[in-house]
């Protein structure tokens, strides 16, 4: 698969391009070239490591939106056995911007729900780029309640630019649907674990992410508004998105410090899209840790722990 390079990865793209060229011409025979290849490989890896060790918030925003970044469907395919998708809000439609269903995660029956960005032009349109309408949030609520009735933990995978801003979405009560989503998350008496995989876009993300444990991939972003929207509202200039990304404190490290997220999951060098299998496995391990910690807790206590956690996000320092 051809590597898609981001703008700031230009030096890496050049190195790796040269490397491929050399590898093709060498054909493995020439000792001198083989040395060069080794040297170049080391250099490319080192540059990538250095670059990714200190990504700016705006660069992370690009990585979080990378087209090859593993999506909901990739996680489900690798981590959930017997996945059985469930559909519909039982009121109006089935919104495929949010997918969900039953399955077995490392031996445990679970409900998995997440924003589904889709892949390829057709896939993206079918899933509306992961931007949900009220029907998506209502489906999520239905599935969470179903899980609760059968005592199953709920996993939510977050990856959305935000809730869909459209006429139909507003007519069908987008705000109410999001509010009920949050309400449901905070009312469940089963474990709820969320992972921010790519973009955690505002209300459309938190609607299914008010969890006992909220985890975040290292280069994911979770933000009150997209840097572009923030720039156009506060700076009155969309091109100030870079500044807005800096100011918003939307990176995993910042949000761990602010206690908005509970754990950061490290990504392979060069980002999740370079080694999807390793990334997905790391997310799986983190979810397993969370479930192990939460599954022994009594239903009422589980709910109260979750509520308490959000009540305590009041900006005051706690020991």
């Amino acid at each position: 698969m051809a590597q898609t390079y981001l703008d700031f990865e230009k030096p890496i793209a050049e190195l790796e391009g040269k490397l491929r060229e050399l590898e093709q011409t060498a054909g493995g025979n020439d000792i001198n070239i083989a040395d060069d290849i080794q040297r170049l490989k080391g250099k490319a890896e080192q540059s990538l490591r250095t670059l990714y060790a200190k990504l700016t918030p705006w660069q992370k925003t690009q990585v979080a939106r990378h087209p090859d970044r593993p999506h909901f469907e990739d996680y489900v395919a690798a981590l959930v056995a017997d996945f059985t998708a469930l559909a519909g809000d039982r009121a109006f439609a089935d919104d495929q911007a949010i997918s969900g269903g039953l399955g077995r995660f490392r031996g445990r029956s679970v409900m998995v729900i997440g924003h589904d960005k889709g892949r390829g032009t057709d896939g993206r349109i079918k899933h509306n780029f992961g931007m949900a309408r009220p029907e998506g949030y209502r489906k999520a609520v239905r599935l969470m309640r179903l899980a609760e009735r059968f005592g199953l933990p709920v996993l939510t995978l977050i990856d959305t630019a935000g809730a869909y801003p459209g006429i139909d979405a507003e007519e069908h009560g987008q705000a109410e649907a999001i509010a009920r989503g949050i309400d449901c998350c905070l009312d469940l008496k089963v474990p709820l674990v969320s992972v921010i995989l790519g973009e955690g876009g505002s209300g459309g993300a938190v609607a299914i992410a008010a969890a006992n444990q909220t985890m975040m991939l290292e280069h994911a972003i979770y933000s009150v508004a997209s840097p572009e929207a923030c720039a156009s509202i506060l700076w009155h200039a969309a091109e100030k998105a870079r500044e807005a990304a800096d100011a918003l404190k939307l990176t995993a490290a910042d949000l761990l410090a602010l206690k908005v997220v509970d754990r950061v999951i490290a990504e392979p060098v060069g980002g999740a899209h370079r080694q999807p299998e390793r990334t997905i496995a790391a997310v799986g391990d983190a979810i397993e840790d969370s479930l192990k910690a939460l599954c022994g807790i009594a239903p009422e206590a589980l709910r109260e722990q979750r509520r308490r956690k959000f009540l305590d996000i009041d900006g005051r320092a706690r020991p």
């Binding site: 509010a179 009312d187 505002s202 209300g203 008010a210 939307l250 602010l258 959000f310």
Partner: protein, 298 residues
């Protein structure tokens, strides 16, 4: 009539155009553009006598309309850290806050009060759109949680008047987290069996609509109020279509099943009082002798 046309109107026009006309003497109606005497506007509860447009009002005016002569007492909202992420756009957020506080004596965009509504004790939380667009950050979240806590402690209904552009971006994710935080406060009220009534006023959008404002046991709105999740401009830019007539206005939401009723400002107090009385027929009563003469709720 000629006398009015020829003599009086030009004088009034000239007077209106005078640059030194104090701002507080005339109010220009955003609905019809008419200049209305401030006193007349106040007497009409800031509803335009010409076109019935409901003007945006501050928290002080709102509490005055709700509690009237009976009076009310403010409930202090505990202080929260200001400028938690040291935000700066074209101006430091700390400076923006300092300027906004000058108008409100240090209060943020949500104030809390407790008072009598026809002999019944209630808690009211009022958002002030004039303070940084009524945006919800730590202080608004704290205010809402304080209001709900007081309501639960005193077994009182909570009535909220929402007015907000959404989350306060200058507080980053801490502002977004006030959505789940305020929802927990709503759940505490619900589990205590207390009514939570929301009056959506112009405008209520974004993270406030998508959290506590849309979770009322009963949802009322003032006529013409803009209510939605995404703002109309964002929707317009996304879909590049003309928005339907009356889109996201209170009447439109009522038609689409998102509200219980749209209530004229002059009827609001009586409607709220009736609803509280019906929901809590034997509910918390004010134990004050002079209130015994008020309307009885069996």
């Amino acid at each position: 009539m000629n006398w009015i046309t020829n003599q009086v109107l030009p004088k009034i026009r000239a007077f209106r155009q005078r640059k030194d006309t104090p701002d507080n003497l005339w109010t220009k109606c955003p609905g019809c553009g008419q200049m209305i005497f401030h006193g007349e506007m106040a007497a009409a509860l800031w509803v335009c006598p010409q076109c019935d447009h409901h003007l945006r009002i501050g928290a002080k005016e709102r509490l005055g309309l709700l509690f009237g002569e009976a009076g009310h007492s403010r409930i202090a909202v505990p202080a929260v850290p200001t400028d938690p992420i040291r935000f700066r756009d074209s101006m430091r957020y700390a400076e923006r806050l300092r300027q906004a506080w000058q108008r409100t004596n240090g209060e943020d965009a949500l104030v809390v009060a407790e008072g009598d509504l026809d002999g019944r004790r209630i808690v009211a939380a009022v958002q002030d759109f004039g303070f940084l667009g009524g945006s919800m950050g730590l202080a608004v979240g704290e205010g809402f949680v304080t209001a709900a806590k007081r309501a639960v402690q005193g077994r009182m209904p909570l009535i909220v008047f929402s007015a907000s552009g959404g989350a306060r971006m200058q507080e980053g994710m801490l502002s977004l987290m006030q959505m789940p935080r305020t929802v927990v406060a709503v759940q505490r009220l619900r589990e205590a069996g207390l009514p939570f009534i929301v009056v959506l006023t112009d405008p209520t959008t974004g993270g406030v609509t998508a959290s506590f404002a849309m979770l009322g046991d009963i949802a009322l709105a003032e006529p013409g109020a803009l209510i939605g999740f995404a703002g109309p401009r964002v929707i317009q830019q996304t879909i590049r279509q003309t928005l339907p007539e009356g889109f996201q206005r209170a009447e439109y939401l009522l038609e689409h099943g998102m509200l219980d009723m749209v209530v004229h400002r002059r009827d609001l107090r009586a409607t709220l009082s009736r609803l509280v009385g019906l929901l809590l027929p034997a509910g918390p009563r004010v134990e004050q002798p002079e209130m015994a003469a008020g309307p009885q709720h069996p």
